[in-house]
């Protein structure tokens, strides 16, 4: 076991974890941030996606040691003062989920995508999001939600 200091959703937290423990399970089991989901454990579905220094990262493949020192943002950290992020709001507006289990990972991957590309084309969204699986098949709505989020962000920036 080792001690690690993590910066999660703007707060500094100290955790005890085995060095081969993944960030996913430190978040879920120790910090009770259960919005981050296990889907495959192999970085193949995107359900566990979090932001590490703003970039979408598979927390199931990220050792806790590697996450120490980075700014970690989980789905629980996107809402500010009761206000949803543009991506969260857009997913809600578009009803871009069925069971919702993939939604956290989708939202964080989309958040990362929109940081790099303000107004992505359909092809860019598909390329950027292809590592995230929605087994319920709501991809068309998720795509629409990401485009809507881009608009919301543009409107917000213009204000």
């Amino acid at each position: 076991m080792g001690k690690f200091v993590l910066n999660v959703n703007g707060a500094s937290v100290s955790v005890d974890a085995a060095p081969d423990e993944s960030l996913l399970y430190v978040l879920r089991d120790q910090l009770q941030l259960t919005g981050t989901k296990y889907g495959c454990g192999g970085g193949q579905c995107g359900a566990c996606t979090v932001l590490l220094d703003g970039r979408a990262t598979r927390s199931c493949l990220t050792l806790v040691a590697a996450a120490a020192g980075a700014k970690i943002v989980t789905i629980e950290g996107l809402e500010h003062g009761g206000r949803l992020s543009e991506v969260q709001q857009a997913f809600l507006d578009e009803g871009a989920f069925q069971c919702g289990y993939c939604t956290s990972g989708m939202i964080l991957s989309a958040t990362s995508l929109l940081r790099g590309k303000r107004n992505p084309s359909d092809d860019e969204i598909v390329a950027g999001m292809n590592g995230n699986v929605c087994r319920c098949g709501t991809y068309p709505r998720i795509l629409a939600a990401i485009k809507r989020a881009a608009q919301l962000k543009a409107q917000g920036a213009g204000r």
Partner: protein, 721 residues
């Protein structure tokens, strides 16, 4: 946590509660548990309804109550049903129907679902039954409750109840303009009523809340990570479990050494018959412990993909005496006289449900009482499994189903619940067990593989004269043809399956429609008829004709001819009260031989639409899920082992596989609402296969039709996806 949990606390820790197996509580219980209010139960038997009203005198209520509803003094409505939510959106659509009949705002309705201690017994959430059966039951209760509220207000004002109006959570006297909210009426009341199913219900043409696109209940919790899925449940003092899995199916344990695992700090190894697992305070230690157990297994030789279809075909020898379930006229005679003849064999491989949330459970013992939180489509079925496994009375077991990360027919069973309960009993503490993806791929069950044989004949003018359909192993659902054929033999041949198999979205209807609608396309081609006109010529069901016409119209069917690089296909059918027609366009790259679905138009009709937005989501999702089984999903297995038990090897539909999708909904307000979660999947595979045929002249006869590599024993696919 949600209001529901506070409610549970009140409900449970308030005192004794006889769970619904022996559901009888009297007036005192009612007062204690609900603090008064209005309580309406729906008797599932016909003769059980009794008017209790104010004269309810402590008699036990009938035991076989199918659902119940309570209106509290604050006007809040709680509806109790054993159905479960797994993404199909019934938490929302059922609440809409209650709100509609009760004339109450949607957000005053809270659905309490899938909890064996709180909700009435329910067989399970499958077969597209929630909308056609639970919907009318809840509407009936809500209509009865509305009437009670009106009567109560009328008595208070001393007016004729017929002059009062219930709307928007209030009863109003239009003459005096005075009104009472449901909460005001309910306050101080202790009304109990059990109703039967003869209440007059609001026709769909008058719906104001049902029939509209109400957003998903608690939708915000799904974009903030707040929703608690089964795998998210945490209990005080909870340990983590891991289970030792055999080396293969039907394996025998030859020897086991748990000493290394037991030396790990804080680990307890649990052995219980064939079951071996480990618990520890944290997940990774439990997993290390399970890995440290040295076990030798003997795995017997078993069939694999290589001989799968031969095994299924020859395995049907046992039912040689079984009669076909449907025979009409004489197929043999009609085939002799047919101008156009067809005899084709179709195959489907096993596929996995792969719900994104694998099986998970938290089990907690309190003496000989057991509570399990788990993701399942059959909480009462899982309760029965636990009762059997542990030999404890039914009333000692409570199964709670937090809205789960999907199922698609794949979560009927309680494996993780049983394993977690075993571990928890041995550990003396609550235990969480989450299956890994590999475990879910290996130790759950599969959509059945199958062999389907079609023999058919038609006259030169396109009239069908003979139809013979044999399904080996994959199942019965959707096996009957909707087309008019005088001479028919329809037979399902049950077979011992090499792999564990079970329900899957639409059951065998997807496989049977693939075979039938592909064969219909072949016949149309042989008759030199347009595939749509050939179908219409042999149909008389106006609902099926309507969806075919609607899909064709939106798609622009027949306007453009297929080429070798661009093919168009159509298919359709009906099952479980849903009507579907699908048009597909595929693009084929002549050099890479890669096939891509470019556009899908699907028309859907399932009676009166309860929630058009939810319905559209279901129909579109079924198309996307259907793409996997149509083009590339298949379980690879040999010698008792699954060889592609990971998403990297078992390909799922992703963003890049999704075509342009257009869903055309037909709203039949004059017809009862049918379920819509399943049948929307049956049109995609044959429509795509028919489009591939239109482009290439070669008919795909096996699902999946275009995998990257063929399963052993199968020819290399002509096209790849």
């Amino acid at each position: 946590m949600s209001a529901r949990n506070e409610f549970e606390r009140e409900f449970f820790e308030g005192g004794e509660w006889t769970p619904p197996g022996g559901w009888q509580f009297d007036r005192r219980d009612f007062l204690r548990l609900f603090g008064g209010g209005i309580f309406v139960g729906l008797a599932s038997g016909p003769a059980l309804a009794q008017e209790s009203g104010r004269s309810f005198g402590g008699h036990p209520l009938p035991k076989d109550v199918g659902a119940w509803l309570h209106i509290a003094a604050d006007g809040g409505v709680k509806v109790f049903t054993g159905k479960v939510e797994g993404g199909q959106n019934i938490r929302t659509s059922l609440a809409q129907q209650v709100a509609e009949e009760l004339r109450a705002p949607f957000d005053t309705i809270e659905m309490v679902m899938g909890d064996t201690a709180l909700t009435p017994y329910d067989m399970g959430t499958f077969g597209s039954r929630s909308t056609p059966t639970m919907g009318p039951q809840l509407r009936t209760m809500a209509a009865a409750a509305r009437q009670m509220l009106i009567e109560s207000a009328a008595a208070r004002w001393g007016v004729d109840e017929a002059t009062l109006v219930a709307a928007d959570g209030k009863v109003t006297d239009p003459k005096t303009k005075r009104s009472l909210s449901y909460g005001e009426i309910t306050r101080g009341e202790n009304l109990v009523k059990v109703v039967s199913s003869d209440e007059a219900l609001t026709p769909a043409s008058d719906w104001k809340i049902a029939g509209t696109a109400v957003p998903k209940a608690h939708g915000r919790d799904f974009v903030t990570g707040k929703h608690v899925y089964p795998s998210d449940v945490v209990r005080p003092g909870m340990l983590f479990g891991a289970v030792l899995r055999p080396d293969g199916f039907n394996a025998k344990l030859k020897s086991i050494d748990t000493s290394a695992a037991e030396k790990l700090p804080g680990v307890k190894v649990v052995r219980d018959g064939d079951f071996t697992g480990a618990v520890a305070a944290d997940r990774i230690t439990a997993q290390h412990a399970a890995k440290a157990i040295k076990a030798n297994w003997e795995v017997p030789g078993q069939p694999g993909n290589k001989d799968l279809f031969d095994v299924l075909k020859s395995g049907s020898g046992n039912d040689g005496e079984a009669r076909p379930q449907h025979v009409a006229g004489s197929v043999a005679q009609a085939m002799d006289g047919a101008d156009i003849k067809l005899e084709e064999q179709y195959t489907v491989q096993y596929i996995a449900h792969a719900p994104l949330e694998p099986r998970a459970a938290v089990a907690e013992w309190n003496g000989d009482k057991l509570t399990v939180w788990t993701g399942t489509q059959r909480p009462f079925g899982v309760r029965d499994e636990l009762v059997q496994a542990f030999g404890i009375p039914e009333e000692n077991v409570r199964v709670i189903q937090p809205d789960m990360g999907s199922g698609y027919g794949g979560k009927h069973t309680g494996e993780a619940a049983l394993e977690a309960a075993r571990l928890a009993r041995a550990a003396g503490k609550p235990v969480k067990l989450e299956w890994t993806r590999r475990e879910e791929f290996t130790w759950a069950y599969f959509r059945p593989a199958g062999v389907i044989e079609i023999r058919a004949g038609a006259r030169r003018d396109g009239e069908l004269v003979a139809w013979e359909h044999h399904n080996y192993n994959s199942g019965n659902a959707g096996i009957g043809t909707p087309y008019n054929v005088a001479n028919q033999i329809i037979q399902y041949h049950p077979v011992e399956s090499p792999l564990r198999q079970g329900s899957y979205r639409s059951l065998a209807a997807a496989a049977n429609h693939f075979a039938r609608e592909s064969a219909m396309d072949s016949l149309a081609h042989q008759a030199a008829m347009d595939p749509l006109e050939f179908r219409i010529k042999n149909l008389s069901d106006p609902r099926l004709i309507a969806v075919f016409r609607a899909a064709a119209e939106r798609f622009g069917w027949g306007r453009v001819k297929s080429t070798s690089e661009r093919g168009f296909g159509i298919a359709g059918g009906t099952e479980k009260g849903g009507y579907v027609a699908t048009c597909a366009e595929v693009a084929i790259d002549p050099t890479t031989r890669q096939v891509r679905i470019r556009r899908v138009v699907q028309a859907w009709e399932s009676g009166a639409i309860v929630n058009p937005d939810g319905l559209r989501n279901q129909v579109s999702g079924a198309i996307v899920q259907g793409i996997g089984g149509a083009l590339f999903e298949q379980i690879l297995f040999a010698d008792g082992r699954i060889q592609n038990a990971a998403f990297a090897q078992y390909r799922l539909p992703r963003f890049s596989d999704v075509p342009q999708i257009e869903v055309v909904l037909l709203d039949r307000k004059d017809l009862p609402s049918a379920g819509a979660g399943e049948t929307g999947i049956v049109g995609l595979a044959p429509a795509v296969g028919n489009a591939m045929f239109a482009a290439t002249g070669v008919r795909p006869r096996g699902l999946p039709m275009a995998p990257r590599t063929a399963a052993p024993g199968q020819p290399e696919p002509r096209l790849r996806s």
